[in-house]
Structure formats: C-alpha cells, structure tokens
C-alpha cells in the first residue's frame, strides 16, 4: 500500500481521466490493461486511529470511471461466475464508464440487494476478482478490476442522490412469513418474500437490527447509517420488525406457526457462539471473546464514553488471538479505544491469514504488530484475577496437512512472555444453539448447523434456513445468496399451500 494523500490521488487521476475520456479513438484493449489500478483513498492513519469514521472514503467520479475502463468486457467473464449472486459485472461496469450510474445500479439490483454493504465487506480477492482477466494479465490479483469498490461507488451514489425507490410490492396475499434474525440472510429473505405480497415480520433478539453487520463489523468499515438505510427501505415496503424477541424463548419456533398463524418461517440466526482456546487463564478478568469486545464497542457504543452506560475496559497492551476479519476488527477497534500496543498473534504466516488483504494492510498502517508463527500457551493473572501477561510459543512450518497448507509445528522450549492487560479471543464462532435446542424437531449436524435440502428447507415443513446458521461462520454475500434461494423456495411453497 502506498501512502498517497487524497489530494495526490485526485491529481493523478485527473491526468489519466482527461487522457482516456478526451480521445476521439476508443482505447485499445492493451491500453486498457495498462491503466494503473485506482487506489482507494483512505483517512490518514494518524487521524483515523482516533476516530470511528469510515477508513476507506470511496472513489471519486473520475476514479470510478477510470477504474471502470480497466475492465476489458470479457466475452466469457469469469468474474460473474465467481460472484455468489452472479451480478452482471461487466454490464454495470460499462455503465459506470459511460457515466450512466443509474443504469449501473439498476443492473446490480437485478441480482443483489445490499450492494453498498457487499461492495465494502465482500472478500473480493477470493471471489469476483480472483480470476479477473485484467488481474491475470497483470499477474497480480491486487491489480484486478476493483469490482467491489465500483459496486460501492454506484450504491453510495444512489444513496446520496436520495432517489432510492423501494421495490414494488405485489397485492397482499394474506400469507404470513416469520423471519428469525435480522442479519443479511434475514433481511434479504424479508425483501424477496415481501415483494410477492406476503406479510413479513422479522424477529430480532437484540434491540438493533442488522445482525453481525451491526454488532460485529465496526463502524469504521461499515457505517451503521448504511444498515439503517437498508432497513428503512424494507420498512417502506411494509416489512414489520419485532425487536427484543428471542425465538425459542419468547416464543417457541413452531409456536410461531401454531399460535401466531405464520405460514412459513425462515431461520437466519447466524453463527453466534464464540469459541475459546481451552487454555489456562482464559476466564481471567481482561479476557474477552471478540463478540463481547466488538458488541460493547459497536452496539453498546463503548467508544462514546461520555454517553454510553456500557462499561469501558481501559487497555494498554492488547493481544488478539486469531487471523481472520474478526481478529483484524478487534485489533483495530482496540487501537481506537486507546490501547498503546496491540498485537495480533497468529499460529501460521501472513500468507495463510484468512483476513482480507486490505484489512491487514490497514491494520499495519494503524500500528498493529503482527506476531506470526506464534501462539498462546497460557494466560497469566495477578492475585485479583486480572490478566498480566500471556505465555507464548514459537512455531515453524512443517509438512503440508490435508488442506495442502504447511502445518505449524511448535518449537520446543521457545516459550516467552508477552506483558498484557487484555486478551481478545477471535478464533471463530460456532452455530448458535438456542433455536435448535428449543426445537427438537430441527435436525442439525455435529457442529450444530441446521441441515437443509437444496431449496434451503429444514427437516420441518414450511421452515427454511440460511446464512451462517447453515454454513458455519461465512460471509455476508454467501448469507445473502442463501437468503435469496430460501426466499424463492418460500414463495413457491406459499403458492402451493392454499
């Protein structure tokens, strides 16, 4: 990542922009492939360490149109096949190049419902951008067409225009659908089912909507105002939201059908069961699951110490265990909450880290220290039961395992101490068992994920499921894709069930 300022970026793009769009001859493919990739302008790292504003500011119009010109409009575009919801990528990108942003967003919306969110948080480098022809030509996936950034650009453009028209809703059918959980899976089902004229109620355990997008992914990566916007569009379509309602406890799942006359149910309760390492000292004061840490920070607004009632844990030295997006978010949040030293402790090397490249780069810029090939052995505390440090072990890479990745092997006798007051465990989430435990009729696999058929139907008639509760901790776009599939099946089920 280079450190160009926003002003420098816009100066550079002006030159290229004028060069491309003031020609009489159209650009040749070869020339297109040589247009430099457009960098995402970002808040200065010394400023953003102290605020929660979005880090990536978004492309300017010039940048978007220049970046769009990098797409060579492949005859057989691999990008479409690599996007879980198969957005017509060359189509919307061409419209951006042609300065027709409305058409671009309309094309995206044919298949995707939450573009301003996916454009921000999709792991594009392993999805739509992984085998993009432009990237392949430049022999670097980071030089692929920035599909996600362009998607975000047009979605933001539409929001700023204030012209969002809620999708049309067909005449009321009198059928009722209950949706459990307001994460991306649930919201997408709500939209698709409501469009067909069915009455839709979304039940959410928390006092705010959006699932992990609200309480997990931080404001500096996905502003809450974007989720609010999506929710308000659904409200305009007539979707009802019932917050503070834990299905399985406030009502048993199947009682929604028996007592409240819902005709069909969608379960999108997500992967909300934090895993721990099972090492000594993990219950000391100062050891948090990433879920707790991020929920207090995001949902409960711990960063706003003046107003928020949620208790604030003042940390100086923080270690985050794990190497995924959740670990990056925790570490970067810790910096913003005032920690002086933040370490990410990961057992393998940078190459194997599942976190998105951009997040890792941002984290490094923000001063987070990465301890690769190291792992926690035990957490130490004082007489008051508070964390004082962590004993770590060093690893080296050994033989490849089943997945082909070289397995990290402990170096005997390599123990060393890290002085800490806070440890955040971000090694993953299992499936939330609450609904399945209180609904014995539902069949789950050995990890507690609901088992569904190819139409996302569970073992109970009329009950569908999708997203992380089926997939295990996955991604927003996969949750959305499953939601769309489930919604289609629910709509079909409702037509046939008179």
């Amino acid at each position: 990542m280079s450190h160009l300022t926003q002003a420098e970026i816009s100066e550079q793009v002006k030159i290229i922009f004028d060069d491309i769009f003031n020609r009489t001859e159209p650009l040749k493919k070869k020339e297109q492939l040589k247009i430099p990739p457009q960098m995402m302008p970002a808040q200065d790292e010394n400023i953003r360490r102290h605020n929660l504003d979005e880090v990536a500011v978004g492309y300017s119009v010039e940048q978007a149109r220049v970046e769009a010109m990098r797409c060579i409009q492949c005859a057989k575009p691999s990008c479409i096949a690599d996007c879980p919801v198969e957005i017509n990528i060359p189509g919307f990108i061409l419209s951006i190049a042609e300065n027709d942003f409305q058409n671009a967003i309309d094309i995206i919306k044919e298949t995707s419902l939450l573009p301003s969110i996916c454009g921000r948080v999709c792991p594009q480098e392993t999805q739509c951008q992984i085998s993009c022809a432009t990237g392949l030509f430049n022999k670097d996936v980071d030089k692929a067409v920035a599909i996600g950034r362009l998607e975000r650009f047009v979605a933001d453009w539409e929001r700023e225009q204030g012209t969002i028209v809620p999708p049309e809703v067909k005449p009321e059918t009198g059928k009722k659908v209950a949706i459990v959980g307001s994460g991306p899976a649930g919201l997408v089902v709500a939209a698709d089912v409501r469009r067909e004229g069915h009455e839709v109620t979304v039940f959410e355990a928390f006092h705010k909507l959006g699932g992990v997008m609200r309480y997990g992914i931080p404001e500096f990566r996905l502003p809450n105002s974007i989720i609010d916007q999506e929710v308000s569009t659904l409200e305009k379509m007539g979707v009802k939201f019932q917050k503070n309602y834990v299905v399985g406890r406030t009502r048993k799942l199947l009682d929604l059908m028996k007592k409240d006359n819902f005709d069909s149910i969608f379960i999108g309760t997500g992967a909300g069961l934090p895993m721990f390492m099972g090492i000594e000292g993990e219950n000391l004061v100062g050891v948090f699951s990433a879920n707790e840490y991020l929920t207090r920070a995001n949902l409960m607004k711990a960063y706003d110490e003046e107003h928020s009632d949620t208790p604030f844990y003042h940390s100086k030295n923080v270690a985050v265990l794990g190497g995924g997006n959740v670990a990056m978010d925790s570490a970067r949040m810790a910096v913003r909450l005032g920690a002086e030293n933040v370490y990410v402790v990961y057992r393998r090397t940078e190459k194997e880290m599942p976190a998105r490249v951009e997040e890792v780069a941002h984290a490094k810029e923000e001063g987070i220290q990465f301890l690769f090939l190291q792992n926690a052995k035990s957490i130490k505390g004082n007489e008051k039961g508070r964390v004082t440090g962590m004993e770590c072990l060093r690893y080296e890479l050994g033989e490849p395992d089943d997945s082909g990745r070289r397995r990290p092997v402990v170096i005997e006798g390599s123990e060393f101490m890290l002085e800490l007051d806070t440890v955040i465990v971000a090694i993953g989430n299992g499936s939330n068992p609450l609904v399945s435990q209180t609904t014995p009729e539902l069949v789950v696999n050995k990890w507690g994920n609901l088992i569904v058929d190819e139409k996302m139907k569970t073992s109970v008639d009329g009950v569908y499921a999708g997203g992380d509760i089926v997939l295990g901790a996955a991604t927003v776009i996969l949750a959305m894709g499953e939601g769309r599939k489930a919604a289609a099946a629910i709509n079909e089920f409702l037509i046939n069930s008179n």
Binding site: A205, V246, P274, L284, N291, T295, P311, K384, N432, P433
Partner: protein
Amino acid sequence: MAKILHKEKLSADVYLMRVHAPLIVEERKAGQFIILQTDEEYGERIPLTIADASEEDDSITLIFQVVGKTTTELSRFNVGDDLPVLVGPLGLPTHIKNFGKVVCVGGGIGVAPLHPIAHALKAAGNEVTTIIGARNKELIILEKEMETIADKLIICTDDGSYGRKALVTEPLEELCKDEATKPDMVIAIGPPIMMKFCSLTTKPYNVFTQVSLNTIMVDGTGMCGGCRVNVGDEVKFVCVEGPEFDGHLVDFDNMMARLSSYKGIEEEAAHKCYVDKEFEAKVEETK
C-alpha cells in the same frame, strides 16, 4: 416497549415493579430472567430475575436493588412510563420436582428470585424450609410472601435487629447436621459470597446444592461469552446453560473476580463490597 403498571419501594434501596409483558407472562417459568435497558441508544443491558407473573394484568414482577448506573435510572421510572427494551424470558427454568425436604436460602435481594422457585417447589409437594438473611431488619424483603409458602421460615440478620443474629450458613448447617431435618436439596440465591459459603457448608454433608449465578451479561443468548463461569472442569455460559448450577462445582472466586471486571483499580479497593467483606470476616470468625 413495556409499560410500568406498578412501583413500590420495598426497603432502603430495593424496588418492586410490575411491568406489562404479555408474551413473557405466557412463557416464563420459575428461575428465568429478563434483560432490560433504560435507554435504547446508550443504555447498558442488565439482567433481572422474573420474581413473579400475573395473568390478570399480563405483568411480570421485577425486584431490584439499586447498585449502580442502570438500576439507579430504573428506580426513576414511574407508573405509566415505558421501558424501551425488555427481552425474555431467558435462561433455563429451575428443575422443579418433589425432592422431599428442601431448604431455600435467600440473601438480601436474592430473596426476590428465590420466591417463585420456593413457590414452585412447594407446589410440587416438597417440604420447604426457607432461610432469609439480611444485614438488618430494614433490608428484609418478601417476608410475608415467603411465610405463606414455607413450612418453616428462619430469619437471620447480621446485627440481630430481627430474627436470629446469625449468618444464613448457621441454621443451614444445623439443618444438615440433624438426620431428621437433613435436606434432600438446597437452593441458595444471594450475593456470590453467600452462595459460596452455603455451598461450602453443605458439601461435607453431601447435600445437593443449587445456586443461581448473577454474572455480567450482554446479550443473554449465548453470543458474547461474557457470562462464562467455571463449573467443575467445564466452562459454562450462565445465560443459556444456567443461571442455576451445582454449587459444589462452581468456581466462585473466579466468578467474583469477573463480576468486578469493569471496576477501576482504586474504585475496587474502596468499594470491595461492604457486605462481602463483612460476610467473609464473620464466616472466618464462626469457624
């Protein structure tokens, strides 16, 4: 939104509120709790036990002690006000069956959650002895309600201003010692330190002892892990696997440390809950 239908001051800093919550009334069982917020934007989520429920006006009863920010704000709500956030019933219900002889021990505000459990145990055919403990006469709550349920009621105060001048562990030990009164099950609810010593008291007599843990919570649905405690060799989430556990297996010292997670170091020294300190000292004394 949940409307407050009734408010009453039970003792110096203990309030009773009845709140309109028809769905919770329909589903709740003894031993379960709710989570509430006094402000949707910035408020903390705090758990409170459902002390009672009435189908007549679809209300649940909450009894709470003012100990900090949120409970103070809650005490300022009045009849007719709406609680912005109320969710429940959460947690597993108490396992109710006919054990035979049971002893219910309630300390301070713990008498509130104990009440519906004692009620259910009595209804299941148990012989119920209730021990209520408090620092002084003013802090005793629900005496009359407990009297109507229990076959035998023992009241203890630390200063002797009412009932016996004793800690609850004294009558509990006497009951365990005597084969004729030895309980088949004990349930103790109160400050962690009291539950710890009740568990230590019954252990040598092998009397199964349940405790209801009041850990810090956020979501109450098993998502955050903030409520975790060590029970035997296992880590349990109080909000979904509790709140009741076998007192002989609970690591109370760790739980108490975790309860003070968010206290500043100085504040911790100053606060070091007066009741806890006194209790500990007295137990040592009587040993």
